[in-house]
């Protein structure tokens, strides 16, 4: 056997071993997924059910590791993520990566956020059935679908026309979701006030009209950072008197000081 043959044989053996390991690891996942799929949109022939359940299990594990609770993900949100087919909200070329816990490019300089960040943002927005929620930056439509699965009425605005059109198609299955193509800066005055506002596009400013359209006691969640990298989540809270305060939530539990004073 030549060196090249030996190498090919080795690679082949590795591929077989990987396939077996994958089969063992993934085999319980369809069962998990089945349990969580009471409202699953496409229950039949969903070859992504396994990876989706694995992703949710990973997010649950990460949430469990958070001792002080600041970034603990609401179990109800995890249940929603187990239902929503993320692979339908990414470009066809990225479908096999849809359930990896990472952001993906969706074209037009936009990304679909990392599932961990979506889960955390949804937890912070705390959507409830019947609530009126505004989303700024529809993107792929995934976050709107997650909010809609919580039973909320969702108005969502996207500035890039082709993305707005795609999202309208994808979100047709949710009668309580309305998509508009336009500048999210001005919010959606006709449907205001909102119980919560989720700004999905990383923002460099907080538009005053959005603050005005937030109900007293309402919450606005904004990711701060750049494409592919969410630095922090900004929670803007408006109290009963209309006074606005912010709180920065660092998604990663990382203590920047070691052995110091």
């Amino acid at each position: 056997m030549s060196g090249a043959d030996a190498r090919a044989g080795f690679l082949h053996r590795r591929a077989i071993v990987k396939a077996i390991v994958a089969a063992i690891v993934l085999s319980p996942l369809p069962v998990l997924s089945f349990a969580a799929s009471a409202r699953q949109t496409a229950p039949r022939a969903d070859r992504y059910a396994g990876p989706r359940a694995a992703l949710v299990a990973e997010l649950r594990e990460q949430s469990r590791g958070d001792s002080d609770g600041a970034t603990r993900i609401d179990p109800a949100v995890l249940a929603i993520l187990a239902r929503v087919p993320r692979h339908e909200y990414v470009p066809a070329s990225e479908r096999d990566s849809a359930y990896e816990n990472r952001p993906l490019g969706i074209g037009y300089g936009q990304t679909i956020s990392q599932p961990y960040i979506v889960a955390l943002m949804t937890t912070l927005a705390a959507p409830r059935a019947g609530q009126n929620i505004l989303e700024v930056g529809t993107g792929s439509g995934y976050q709107a679908a997650v909010l809609a699965e919580a039973g909320a009425k969702v108005r969502t605005i996207e500035i890039v026309d082709p993305l707005a059109k795609q999202a309208t198609q994808r979100l047709r299955r949710y009668p309580d979701v309305e998509v508009r193509n336009g500048d999210g800066y001005y919010g959606w005055k006709e449907q205001a006030p909102f119980d919560a506002i989720v700004v999905t596009a990383a923002a460099s400013s907080i538009p005053p009209p959005l603050v005005q359209q937030l109900k007293p006691g309402g919450r606005m969640v904004i990711p701060v950072g750049s494409s592919f990298f969410t630095q922090t989540l900004l929670l803007v809270e408006k109290d009963a008197t209309g006074r606005v305060r912010t709180r920065q939530v660092l998604p990663v539990r990382f203590v920047p000081l070691t052995g110091g004073p």
């Binding site: 300089g109 800066y185 701060v224 912010t246 990663v252 990382f254 920047p256 004073p261």
Partner: protein, 826 residues
Amino acid sequence: MSVADADVVEQSASIEAKTSAVALPVAIALISAAALAWQLLLMRWLAIAHWHPFAVMIISLALLGHGASGTWLSLWLRGERRARLERGFDTAFATCALLFATSAAVTLVLARAIPFNGLELVWNWRQLLWLAALYLTLSVPFFFAAACFGLAFVRQGSRIPTLYGADLIGAALGALAALAASALPVQRGLLIAAICGPIAAWLVTRRIALRMAASIVALALAMLWPTQALAPLPNEFKGLSKALLLPGARVIAESEDPYGSFELVESPHVPLRFAPGLSLSHSDELPPQLAIYTDGDAMSPIVRDDGHADWQWLDDMTSALPYRLHTPDRVLVLGSGGGMDVLQALSLGARQVDAVEQSAQRMHWARDVFAAYSGHLLEDRRVSNFVAEPRAFVRDARERYDLIVLAGGESLASGGAGVQSASEQYALTVEALRDYLSTLTPRGMLVATQWSKQPPRDELKLFATAVEALRDEGVGDPARNIIAIRNWDASTWLFARSPLDPRSLAALHRFAERRGFDVVHAPGWRARAHDRFHQLDPPTLFDGVQALLSPRARQYIRGYRFDIEPASDDRPYFAHFFRWRSLPELWRLRAQGGAVLLDSGYLVLVATLVQAVVLALVLVLLPLRALPRGAGTATSSRTRTGAYFLALGLAFLLIEIALLSRLTLMLGHPWLAANIGLAAMLLFAGLGSLHAQRWVDASQADDAALARRIAWSVRAIVLGLGWQFVVFVAAHELTASWPVAFRALAGFVGVAPLAFAMGMPFPLGLARLSRTAPSFVPWAWGLNGCASVVAAILALLVAISFGLRATLMLGLALYLLAAWIGRRPV
């Protein structure tokens, strides 16, 4: 080939022998100029298409094409082929020159099509493959350019110093040509470089077929001139690409100068709204803005003034703080860009504003071309404009200012995930802040606004740097001279020359309370955490500021998971925050978003070094197995030969990169410094090499004499380095007020003797080798190429970790090692 054809070839060969004495060095200089200009312009092309650190990585690895070419030649030119080269040298050289030009254009088209996205590297392993595809593709032109030199060295061993000299002098001209070409769109500069290939081929060959081919290649390249086929495509996640997605947004002006490639964007339907640190209490809309993008990023706005604009928003940003403490008479804005900070100063009562901007093009747009848009802001009688490097301007300033604003827009905030961490920022070092502080009136203030990051990095580093600068300026208790406030997105840091008085502090509290800003630090102020408008969890910024003012500051900096050591002129890497000990935890936490804290710029460099070392080892070791084991090539001799050329390759680039960085301080901008510094280094090294030819000619059979010359040249390098230290220190003190051309001249003078000496050991070693083991010449050439690539990356890493002086010393130590090895035959 017929007999008649063979006769023609014979005749032409004899004519070529006569003409090659001149034509070959000229052709080599031309290819060398083209290759260096190509390299420098490709770096700009990549920086526009991607981001600077990725450009550094890609170009570094692509340069391994040089090394690969040496490996290929040493494997290919054996036995009969070597004899054939004696006859067909001109054809081989011309073919390589034509392949350089052709592959240059083709690989650029391919590079445009490769969907590499550096931002996804930590998430997506496929990006590693695209990255490899990119640098392997771009290495091809370098391969053919270096093959031209390698062929010539093999063919004309006795003339190596002359040819090497021509190579270096050509490269020097290439560096200057690249600088001149920065006035053109980058793809046109690249085309000019590529066209040098067919010209060099024409010069060397007399064969009609090859000359025809040269003409066709030149014509084909010329036809690309009016097209956009080779223009860089900016990454879709860059600021410019995103702005252009807004409905109706378009580029209304484009231009280039040595400071970058600029685009001016208008968005008529969706207003651009750049206002860092704008209070949440501000509810009115901002006036429209135009955006100046530099290399597709780093936005700086030109604000519209139609005579009816409301400027309240300028008073509602954190950056309005100094104007609310005292109304300053004289304000200096360093990095005025589109003029927003100048507008703020005027609208908040400044009587005189000096606006300093590095780029003549940005200034031209803001002051002249779009003057009507900004209400003739920069033509206001209260405003004086200067195109200058900020630090040099301050050192030369006779005026004293009540307020200095470190503007610089987005450049002051390091980019996403620390991609700028390997860039020098001489405007933000302890020495720079001391320069600014000493230009203030006794009650003057220095102010900077930064985007906030969590956990804090830039803000704490700026604070630590300023505290050290204040202490160095004789301020015993800096806590009394500093105020910092923060909004949810940005913070403003104010450093005063004198302790702040109670009136200022009262004004601060009114200002901050009304606008909903939190006081991070003010003398005698301690806010309760739950009273803050913008809660930070954990409140590291607040704790860090107090710790850095306390006696335990050193301990705090050492214990911090990011590098917040004050930046200095010796380690001017303000945006470098990476610490190895944080890596395992951040990598583990990347699924929670830990990747954003990785400061990828430094890691990209490390990854580049690892790949370069592995590839270089393959390229260097591979031919060793095949090379003949004859006289003078015993294992110990091979090791010595390898060590000699390795040490020289590393040493030359370590010193060169560190010198270019020090030159940046003198000239003000890395691109200028790189071009002028490279030109100086290569020109004088080339002259040194030509001088070495005389020694080779004078000592035809005396190897020991050449060894003595090597030792002599290394002693000259030691003296040259000392001279360079003296000249650079003197120039920094004395030449700040000189025009940039004169400062460049001072740089030339500082570099010249050192570079002259550095140009000798390599060709002297090659000349010795061509006598004892000629088949090793291309291998040594390739080894040197590989070592240069490794050293260029190593130099940056050493400078970031240990400083520029340490990098120079390491280079010097390697020269001494080479001299020690060179005592015996190589």
